[in-house]
Amino acid sequence: MATRSPTHQRAHLPTCVHDGGVVAPVERFRDGLTVRTTVHGLPGEIAGRPDATTRIRHKPPYRGAACRLACIAFPPQRNLEYHPSMTSNLAQPRRPTRSVTLAVVVLAIVGLGCQGAGGGSPEEAGPGNAHCSVTADYPHESSGTPGWVVAKVRVVCTNTIDSLAIDAKLHRFANGKWVDVDVAAPRVVSPVTPNEKYTHQAQAPCAKGERGSYCGAGRGSGVYGGNPAKSADWTYSAERTVECA
């Protein structure tokens, strides 16, 4: 069991409820050194031990599968910080504080919030080249499932390419900085039809009456004619204040 010191802060994570009560509740503690995840009631068949209580300690640097799963298995992540040396190459949540906060500061001056660059034009236009545009819708509360904030990402490609992977994440402005509240596992599409709109989304729960500033972000990667390519950076939506009904 991890030793708790006064520097530990209990992360405010929602209880993860799954059909059959598989992964509830989840607790995490952080002090910049240790993240402990406690999972009660694991199904014996998948865990190898019936109704086990499992404690997992992740120590930085968070790497590889453990890192990915810390990010994917129990979304959404609230107030969970990531070590900069995380090296996961899939669904990699980067720590948004520096670059995004800087972007916020810069963009706030011109009144654009977290809105990223938009309306980019394809480079290297020419016969045989393919271009995919990445668009992030601004987040909104789901109209069909109140209590969820949803951010959608759209990717449209000009040519038939071999494969496409779409990343989506949802940011929330909290305690003076932008934090990831959900990093969706990538959506992989293959093959990709020209001019078809491919959608992915990130989402996070919100309580009734809860109000927050959110923005969505997306990026793409793919293979065309055997050549891999990826977005140079995340594409951000406009910032939007959402108050959950």
């Binding site: 799954h18 059909d19 598989v22 199904p43 998948i46 865990a47 190898g48 997992i56 599968a65 453990a66 990915r68 799963l69 994917i72 129990f74 899939l90 669904a91 938009g118 309306g119 980019g120 034009s121 480079e123 290297e124 020419g126 045989g128 080249n129 393919a130 271009h131 995919c132 545009s133 990445v134 668009t135 992030a136 909104h140 789901s142 109209s143 069909g144 499932t145 949803v150 959608k152 449209v156 390419i161 494969s163 496409l164 596992a185 959506r187 992989v188 599409v189 293959s190 078809e196 491919y198 959608t199 989304q201 990667s221 065309y224 004619g225 050549n227 977005s231 594409t235 939506s237 406009a238």
Partner: protein, 157 residues
């Protein structure tokens, strides 16, 4: 032959996913289609407004699948222990609509639940669903240390 990714124009979609009669009608079509898929495998489908429950054949073979209309073009699919994904559907056939292929893939036993382990300890779960239009979740080749449970096919009943 070069590929590039560029930021698109800022979205002007302000519909907030509102479900208008067009989307309602499309949702009804999809429920009918998935119910037919279930019945074709000896199972059943029950729709209650925004919720569709697909029950596998008698005998406990396969996994119950729950599909919930979330908003325009989006539905939530839950099955087994770990599958809980938001899927998308378009207004017209032929467009990118992975919702139906994903649910059919689960019925056909293509879905995998993956438990990641580290040093003998269980560290998390994820899932992987290959389907006609691509895949959902974590590709298994990127998870070297794992336990995999394939959801049983409804056809095995």
């Amino acid at each position: 032959m070069r590929l590039s990714f560029v930021p698109g124009a800022l979205s002007e979609d302000d519909s907030d996913g509102a479900i208008n009669p067009q989307w309602e009608a499309r949702w009804a079509e999809i429920c009918d289609r998935l119910t037919a898929e279930a019945e074709g495998r000896g199972g059943r489908g029950y729709r209650d407004g925004d919720n569709l429950t697909l029950v596998p054949p008698h005998g406990g073979q396969g996994e119950r699948i729950r599909v919930q209309l979330v908003e325009a073009e989006s539905a939530r699919v839950r099955a087994g222990w770990t599958i809980d994904v938001f899927e998308h559907f378009s207004l017209v056939d032929g467009s990118y609509s992975p919702l139906v292929p994903v649910v059919v893939a689960i019925m056909d036993g293509a879905a995998q639940e993956i438990a990641e382990t580290s040093g003998g300890r269980w560290v998390g779960v994820c899932h992987y669903i290959p389907h006609a239009a691509g895949s959902v979740g974590l590709p298994p080749e990127l998870s070297p240390d794992r336990l995999v449970r394939s959801l049983p096919s409804w056809r095995s009943a």
